[in-house]
Symmetry: C2
Subunit: 386 residues, 2 copies
């Protein structure tokens, strides 16, 4: 890190930390009724927690994200990329670490340090696999709350997240409306649509038909890498937009002037998808994909199936909402953001809404864009003034 980088708002060096709870004989009970013991959460923080412990902002990551939202690890090589939302987190950025204590927690069910299906089941000494209990977005929030309490944070200044992260933000608001002053769901939805469930189900099937998946029991041997790569390819198509793909790839051929007249890569878009699939396999656990996509599919703030309060019961809360959508996001389209806004207004909430014009689809929230930072910075300042 040199001075130029610091002046440029670098989030700096960060260390992954761990918090373990529900240690035997205690257990953590999930929405399904199942229980886990113990539970570890990996997390990272940026900025300083204020004396009153009232400046914490939770960054909730999307399904394949992790706690490394910004900055670098101490042992990163010189050419390492910073965390996944480095453009948003740092001094003077949208989530200004001169003002806020930012925390990002790898979600329950993940595979980046938090307890998930690849963790050791203490009852067997082997990885859980499918013995890991199904968890919900609500369960993720309950674990996050325990970690925040451990850090002495009883109230969040705000929570922000894109995609599945946005669902976590909203779940926070309906479960603990008095413990969250502001909420910024980005490129998200108040209930998973049939289309989104459909894509998740196809991705799951791609993994589950891979014989190496072996009903989730593949740890220590070759895993379902091929199925997982196909699942990621499906995901990647849904994260982009028709326009972005036209602009980025069009019908350009890969390293050749003529068609191969075979099943090798002809088009750049094919090469891109295969690369994304292969790269993902190196860093993500197939069972985690199954569990986290299922948790998103279950997410529904309107019909709660008996699990927690609904959005309509939010009448007493004082949370300020900023709902953000992207014009070319067809996974969680703007009309779904507007449905959320209308539901929040019917529940007498203080809600602002912004659709950002961008042609890059659902993934737009991950792409550095000053507009998002400015919007969020201004909104959070307004919350602070109130």
């Amino acid at each position: 890190m040199n001075n130029a980088e610091l002046e440029n708002g670098s989030a700096g060096v960060v260390t992954k930390q761990f918090f373990t709870f529900a240690e035997p004989p205690n257990t953590f009970t999930l929405e399904s009724g199942a229980s886990l013991s113990p539970v570890t959460l990996a997390y990272e923080t940026w900025g300083q927690l204020s004396k009153n412990r009232d400046n914490a902002i939770l960054v909730a990551h999307a399904f394949s994200g992790d706690s490394h939202a910004a900055g670098f690890y101490p042992d990163d090589p010189a050419d390492a990329k910073p965390g996944w939302w480095d453009s948003m987190i740092g001094p003077g950025k949208g989530l200004d670490t001169n003002k806020y204590f930012v925390i990002c927690i790898n979600i329950l069910g993940g595979c980046m340090g938090s307890t998930g299906p690849s963790s050791i089941n203490p009852e067997t000494g082997q990885p859980y696999g499918l013995d890991f209990p199904m968890m919900t977005i609500g369960d993720i929030i309950e674990t996050q709350k325990l970690l925040l309490e451990h850090l002495g944070i009883s109230t969040l200044h705000g929570a922000i997240g894109g995609s599945v992260g946005g669902m976590q933000v909203l779940e926070w608001c309906v479960r603990y409306p008095d413990k969250i002053r502001s909420a910024i769901p980005v490129a998200s939805t108040m209930r998973h649509s049939a289309l989104a469930i459909a894509f998740n189900e196809v991705a799951r099937q791609a993994i589950m038909v891979d014989p190496r998946w072996n009903r989730g029991n593949y740890y220590g041997s070759d895993g379902p890498d091929l199925g997982l790569a196909v699942a990621r390819m499906i995901g990647h198509v849904t994260y982009l937009s028709d326009e972005a793909m036209r602009r980025k790839f069009g019908r350009r051929l890969q390293d050749k002037e003529n068609f191969s007249y075979g099943f090798d890569v002809d088009f750049q878009v094919e090469s891109y998808l295969r690369y994304q699939g292969t790269k993902f396999v190196e860093r993500f656990d197939a069972n985690s994909l199954l569990y986290i996509t299922k948790a998103s599919d279950y997410f529904d703030l309107v019909n709660r199936n008996g699990s927690g309060p609904s959005l309509m019961e939010l009448t007493s809360a004082q949370t300020k909402f900023l709902v953000i959508s992207y014009s070319s996001d067809w996974l969680y389209p703007t009309y779904q953001a507007k449905e959320l806004v209308q539901s929040l207004k019917r529940a007498s909430q203080d809600v602002s809404f912004c659709e950002i014009e961008a042609d890059c689809g659902h993934d737009a929230f991950l792409i550095p864009d000053k507009r998002l930072g400015t919007l969020i910075g201004g909104f959070l300042d307004g919350v602070s003034r109130n």
Copy 2:
């Protein structure tokens, strides 16, 4: 068939016929330079060919279709469904068999009677598998033309087709503009977009990573049924629309009141997709899917990569075009139909355009809808009058 059905415009009983050409020592040369010998095409016809042999209309089927576009086979059970476009073909229907001789041909590379990768390679006595040469939409048209010539049809009154069928219609127009009086591409495009290529590539990968695919050499043993089912599920999501899925499935649960908290079917949309995948495996060959999707991906009437004339060279033709799109089709969206219309107009063609409002996505053209029949019937009558 009873009288009520006949009065109701039934297409009646139809028999699948076969035409074989390029028998040794002759061969059929494909665009790639490879050759095939012999080539068989399966086809079905409805209505009577006029004395002048000038009332033929080619129905070009979509990628998983076949020659059985309407009516019933003689040995169909009482509860059999009619052909896939029975709503469009028959006395008094959009393609009025009192006026026109309608013909539908299973495409080269298919698996419903025409020569494809599951056919016997005479050189080995075994199914071709991946030894089948890669074919293009242009190759499909050349085989169709040979069959029509065999039937004594030198000029088509019209050609119509949805999706990949629409590509065939357009390819006919640029290859043989003087042999086709009218063309109706429906829910189609003049070049396959990056998004469409991406979905096809993911579907192909789903098949090719199935170990039972065995590099295409699976005939006589268990084939890549699981991979093929996943490929079909991907396809089905793209054939529907967000709106249609909301209306048809929403977040309704399948046969239960609560979540399973497992990886069995929870939502109706999951059950629907799994069913579509399984059903498809019973009737379709995985290698045919690979070849036909690749032929669609290669389709580009603008940049021809040296293969045949481009759309811009169409200046002398007299073909009348009716381009039809569906408002909720996101695989071949209306903007692509408009690009086609503009290109045709720049090439001084006689072109009409209609976007049909429908919420059911790309598959809308397969769903009985009087509007499509009326539109097409009126257009074809106009062509006849000229």
